[in-house]
Amino acid sequence: MLLAAGAAGLLAAMAMMIVRAIMGPSHYDRILAVNSFGTKTVLLLALVGFLFGRPAFLDIAIVYALINFVTTIALMKFFRYRSLAQPLATRADEEARHG
């Protein structure tokens, strides 16, 4: 019962994230929405596994937590640098460049 209530709450939170992803206004808002949506998805998957009596499917939640990160970094990098191939600079690189 409590688990079902938790799943309902997570679905509501996911719906709000979808609204933010559709509304924007900036692309960073959308990336934020996707990232947060992904975290909520991980939780929902874990809950659903317990709700349906097959908690072995937590594997999928683990993979979400990992892939969500890759996607967020790809989107962030795309919007910030317009490239997928450039390395991300460190402070040391930057200081070397500016002396």
């Binding site: 692309h27 996707v34 072995a56 996607t71 997928l84 191939a85 991300l88």
Partner: protein, 358 residues
């Protein structure tokens, strides 16, 4: 359990909420003109449909959809946008009338046809009562693998899966031929990124990349027992390589996993898959008939305890056949996805101009 679902069935309630979310997101994709927004929304669409797949008892598919839909296809689409442009033209609204009419008509016909389908979850429908049930009953005895999806995928329908792997390989070759195998122009130095320093990201990525690769291997070898298998593991492995390229730069990644290695491994996977089939034929069976993977005089020598008790000894061929072809799938899928990523990320607009001059 009630045969007819009511709204207060938790399963059905989650199912319907998720489908409504899918409809809303799809509607937003139709409306938006910005391709970037469309790609982000498509990522959300994949996430929602993956949760829906878990609710619908298809964890293997959910695995694949999660990694492919939310991960790889988003990145491939971003790579394509980089080489084209981010906005779609606004069409004349009068030109939307004919497509809308077609879609409404076809959709109406489909919905009308859907009313004749068996209700959701009908255990006696032809799909569920005959072939699906037959696989479930026969697989533990024939194959000896708990995950029926893997048993059907790798053994009963092994030839079909071989075809799919060849298609993936061919698609990778196609992309590589069209876009090249990686950066051919010299990569420009990183753009001026004042105020950005990504130490946190680099450290976290260093921790995460080996973990992702390790997890891919877990998914690979756990595929007999639970959700997982070569397709999923291959895409996860490719995601690890792609994360490395995103954070440390494509050039560094290409030094570690050279395009040559990627394309050799892709062919090696297909070769391994086909090789297992040919070995079965040489031992007197049919193509991919794993019961003939080992000749009888060798199989007699294998101690039963290797696979947990003498009763499972007659599944030796099946176990090893499935493991080998899943390994082939892993190699091909991972290497193909990496090749595709190299193709998109390594191409720059300069390449096109240079080619045009030639």
């Amino acid at each position: 359990m009630i045969a007819e679902p009511t709204f207060f069935d938790v399963n059905l309630a989650i199912d319907i909420v998720l489908l409504v979310m899918l409809l809303v997101v799809a509607g937003a994709i139709v409306r938006t003109r910005s391709l970037l927004t469309a790609i982000i929304l498509f990522g959300i669409y994949s996430l929602v449909s993956a949760v829906w797949l878990v609710v619908m008892d298809a964890p293997d598919v959910a695995f694949t959809e999660a990694v492919v839909g939310a991960g790889i296809s988003t990145i491939v689409l971003l790579g394509a946008i980089l080489l084209t442009r981010g906005e779609a033209e606004r069409g004349d609204w009068r030109r939307l009338i004919a497509p809308a009419l077609v879609c409404v008509t076809v959709g109406g016909v489909l919905i009308y046809a859907a009313t004749g389908l068996p209700a959701l979850g009908d255990a006696s429908s032809p799909v569920n009562a005959y072939v699906g049930r037959a696989y479930l009953e026969a697989a533990p005895n024939d194959i000896g693998v708990p995950n029926t999806v893997t048993a059907v995928l790798a053994s009963y329908r092994g030839f079909d899966t071989f075809g799919e792997v060849v298609v993936i390989f061919a698609a990778g070759v196609g992309v590589a031929l069209m876009l090249g195998f990686g950066p051919r122009a010299s990569l420009a130095p990183p753009p001026q990124v004042m105020g950005d320093h990504h130490v946190v990201l680099r450290v976290a990525a260093k921790l995460l990349i080996p973990l992702i690769a390790l997890y891919a291997l877990y998914v690979q070898f756990h595929g007999d027992l639970g959700a997982g298998g070569g397709f999923q593991a291959g895409v996860i492995m490719a995601a690890a390589v792609i994360l490395h390229a995103l954070v440390f730069g494509l050039r560094e990644t290409m030094a570690a996993v050279t395009p040559k290695v990627a394309r050799s491994v892709a062919s090696l996977g297909v070769l391994l898959y086909a090789g297992v089939g040919v070995v079965c034929m040489m031992n007197g069976g049919l193509f991919l008939d794993y019961d003939y993977l080992f000749p009888p005089h060798i199989e007699k020598e294998i101690p039963g305890w290797l696979l947990g008790g003498p009763e499972s000894a007659h599944h030796w061929g099946q176990h090893f056949g499935i493991m080998l072809i899943e390994l082939g799938v892993l190699l091909t899928v991972a290497a193909t996805m990496v090749t595709i990523f190299y193709g998109f990320a390594g191409r720059s607009v300069d390449d096109a101009q240079r080619e045009a001059k030639r």
